[in-house]
Amino acid sequence: MSGYIIRRVLNYVVLLFIACSFAYLLASSFLNPYSVYFGRQPPVDPDVIENIMRGCNLSHEVSLWERYTTWLTKIFTEWDWGCSPLRVSVNEQIGVRMWVSLRLVLIGTLGGVIVGVLVGAWTATRQYRVSDRVYTGLSLLVICTPSFVLGIVLQILAIKANDAMGVRFFEFVGEKGVVGDYPLAELVDRLQHLLLPTIVLVLLTAASLSRIQRNLMLDSLGADYVRTARAKGLPKSQAVMKHALRTALIPTGTYVAFTVATMFTGATYTERVFSFPGMGQYAVQTILAMDVNGIAATTAFAGVCVVCGAILSDIVVAILDPRVRLG
C-alpha cells in the first residue's frame, strides 16, 4: 500500500516538474519581457533595462539553459520563484492572491454544489413534469452562457438596481472598497464585493452539477436494487431517497472534490470581470505582462491544484463507496 502511494506521489512530482519546466521554457522562448519597457515616455535606457532583466533572470543575453538552471536553483534553495519584468515578486503576489481566490471560490463552489445536487436529484424524480423541464432548460441556458457574459449581465442589473435604490448596495469592482466607520464595516464591505462574483460561480457550478446529478439519478432510479427496495415494501419516494440518491452521490462526490481543488485558479473570467485580484486574474496578467516567472509559478500552482483534486477525489470516493474502500 505505502509503496503504491509513494510511487504515485513520485509520479505526480515528476509530472509537476515537467509541467513547470515546460511552461518556463515555452514562455521564455515565446515571450519578450523587454517589450514591457518599450514605448515608455520618457524612454528607458537600454542598459537600465538590461540590468533589470539580469536582476530578474530574464536577460536574453544569458542562454536559456543558464536562465533555466538559475531559476531552478533559486526555487530549490531559496523557494524564490523570481519576479516580473517590473520587478514585482512572484512569491508575494501568489501569497496574497491565493487567499483572495480561496475566499471567492470556496463559497461559490460549495454553494453551487449544494444547490446543484438538490436541484438535480429533485428534477430527476420529477422527470418530464413541467418543473423538470423548466429547470433543465434553465440550467442548459446557464451552461451555454460564458461566465464573462453572465458576469457583465449581472453588473448591468446591479447598476440598475443600485440606481433604483439610490444606494450603492451592489459592488462590482475589486474585492474591497471604501470602508464605512460602523462596527463590522470591513466585513460588510468585503461581503458586498463578494456577492456578485459568488452568484456567478454558484450559478455556473449548480447548473452543470445539477445536470450531472440528474443523469446519475436517472441511471440509479432504474437500477435493480431500487426495484428490490420497492419489492421489500419501501414506498417509491423512500426507495429513491435511501437507495438511489445515496448511490448516485458517489460520482458526484469525486467530481466535486476535483472541482473544488481546481477552481482555485478556475475563476479567471469572473475575477477578470469583477476586477477581483485572485489567482485566475493573475494568470492572465502574467501573460499580458510577459511575466515568464509568473507564468511558470502559476503553472506550478495550478498543477498542484489538479494533483490535490485527483487525490481528494480518490479520498472522497473511498469514503462514499465501500467497494473502493474495502475492495
Binding site: 436494487y225 428490490t228 419489492a231 421489500k232 414506498p235 437507495h243 448511490t247 480518490d314 463507496d321 467497494r323
Partner: protein, 684 residues
Amino acid sequence: MSLLSVRDLNVTFPSEAGDVLAVRGISFDLERGRTMALVGESGSGKSVTSLAIMGLHPDLVTISGSITLDGEELLGKSDAEMSKIRGNRIAMVFQDPLSALTPVYPVGNQIVETILIHNPGTTKRDAWNRAVELLTIVGIPDAAERARAFPFEFSGGMRQRVMIAMAMANQPDIIIADEPTTALDVTIQAQVLEVLQRAQAETGAAMILITHDLGVVAGYADEVTVMYAGRPVEQGTIGDVFYHPAMPYTIGLLGTVPRLDHKSGDPLPMLEGNPPDVVHLPPGCPFVPRCPMAAPQCEQVEPELTAVGEGHTAACVRLSDVVGRAHTEIFRPPPLERTSLAAVPRADRDTVLELAGLHKHFPLLKGALYRRQVGVVKAVDGIDLDVKVGETLGLVGESGSGKSTTLLEILELLKPQRGRIMVLGRDTAALTKAERRAMRKDVQVVFQDPMAAVDPRMPVFDIIAEPLQEFGWKKAEVEARVFELLGLVGLRPEHADRFPQHFSGGQRQRIGIARALALSPSVLVLDEPVSALDVSIQAGVINLLEALQHKLHLSYVIVAHDLAVIRHISDRVAVMYLGSIVEIGDVNTVYDTPVHPYTQALISAIPIPDPDVERARQRIVLEGDLPSPSDPPTGCKFSSRCPKLALLAPAQQVQCQAEAPALEQIGEGDHQAACHFAEVLKVF
C-alpha cells in the same frame, strides 16, 4: 378461496415499434404451500406477470384483469397500499443478485430495513438479531459477522442466499422467485434451490418459480404454467405437463432438450424457428410458424385453453390429433450422414491438438482505487490432453475452473508459460510470426454470446468474408465461398446483405459458425456455443455442429456448463477443477460411472427434466464456493469441499490433504481420474 388468484391478466406497454402485448390473458390460482412454475422462453411474459403481481410496473404500463390476494383485489391499489403488501405478504427473489442488492449498505442493514418497514414496533437490536438469524437459516457461515459485510464481499451464490433471507424476513404468504439460479453455477444452483425450499418450508409460503430450466421445474414445482408469446398455452400438474403434454410447444420444449442420463447418439428433435414478435402478432395461434401440426384452422383464431383432463388444460385446436403422440413423431430429428471416420478406432486416428503440462498463471490484482498484486491465479495448472481428428472433447467444471482460459491459450497459438501446445503436430512455441498467422486458418473459434460474437456494424457477407479477404482470396472466390458457407450453416443467400441485429440468437450463432469455418479449419474451439440460446433454439445449433463435424471431419474442443449438452455432443469429456483435470475419458463411461467425487457432485447437481427421476435421485450438494484459484488447498485441491473426505479414515484424510493425486487409469477403457480413493458412484 385461493391464496392468490389471477384472472385474465393483460399487460401492455408502449415501445418504439408499437404496443408490446407482453402478457395476454393469463389466469391461475395458487394455494398455500404450493409451488407453481411459470415456464417459457425469453419474451414469453413470465417476468412481466410477476412484476404485475408485485405492482412494480411503471405507470406507463397498462394492466387489466384481476389479481386477488385472499380475495382482496391488488390491481388499482396505490403505491402506498401496495408497499404494505410487498415484502410483507408477497416477497420476491430476483435473478441477478449482483445488481439487486444496494452496493453501499451492509447486507444486514438491508434485511433490517425490510423487517422495520413492516414491523415499526420492533427495536433495531431485535431486527438485527433477526437478520442474523435469517442469514444463519439460509446458510451464511459466521452470520453475525458477515451481516456487516457489503454485497460485493459475497459470491453470487451467497448474495442470492441474502436475497432469500430478505424475502423470508416477514414470513410472506407468497415468494416469487424470478430465475433465481440462472446466473449461478450448477453446484451453487443446487445449494440455492435447497435454501429456497428451506425458506418455503420455514415460512409455509406458496411459491411462484419463474425459470426456463425444465430440470428445475421437474424437481421443485407442483403445478406448471407454460407460456408462449405472452399467453398461457398449457397448465396442469407437474405430472400432467411432463408426462402427458398436449400442446405441441410443450411437447417440443420437453423433447428437444438433451438428456443428462442417457446418450442416444442421434440428432435431437428440433423445434425450429423463433418466438413471434409480440408487437405485430398475426391472428391465429402464435405457434403456427413453428408447429409441425399446424393446419389451416390454426391460423384463424387463437385457441383458448381447453380441458385435456382433470385440472389440465392446453391451448390447441388439434388437441385430439396431438395427444398421445410421441414427441419424435411430431418433431422429427433431421437425418445425419455419418462420417466414414466413425469406423476408425480412436488410437488409429491422427492427433490434431495436444496439450502437455500446460500452465497459465495470472497475477491476482486487487483494489479499485489502486491496483496491487496480491497473489497468483493458477488458472491453468498443468493439464494434458489430446484431440484426435473428427473427435469432440468436452471441458466441464464450475466457473473459475480454467476451462475458458485453456481455450484462449490454445487460440493464442503462442509459447505457453510452461508446457507445450501442439497443433497438427507442430509446436506453437517454435512458430515464426508468419507461420503463426498461417496456422490461424487451422484453429478457429465460436463464442458464447451471439449478440457479441459478430460485429453489429457489418453486414453478414462482410463478416463471413473477412477471414477470406485477410488471407488474400480473390473477390470472385470470396463471393462463392460465402454463399457456400451460408448454405452449409442453414442460412439463405439473401441473408448476406442483412445486419446482425436482424437475426435471432440462433441465427447469429450460425453466422459465427460460418465465419469460423470460412478457412476450413481442422480444429474448432467452442466456448459455451449454446448457453446463451433459448432451449428450443439450442437443438438446432447442436445438430448443425454435429452434422458439420461428420461432413468436414472437424475436431471440436467445447466448453459448456450444461453437462447434458456436453454428454450429447462429446465423444470424450474432461472434468476440470481449479486448473487441473480431475477426471477424463469416454463421455458415457465418465457420466455413467464417475469415480471422482467432484464429477459425481457436478453430475448430481444437474437437474433432470423428468419429475419422477429427478425426485428419486440422491443429490450430493457441495458445501461452499469454489476456493480462490490463487490459494488452492494443499494436497488434493478438492479436499476442502470433498463430500467423501469426512467418510475416510484419519490417515486417509491426511493423505488427501498432503498429497496431490495424479491422473490414473480406471478400469479397462478410456477413463482416468485423479483421486486417491476413486470409487464408482451411481448419480442417476
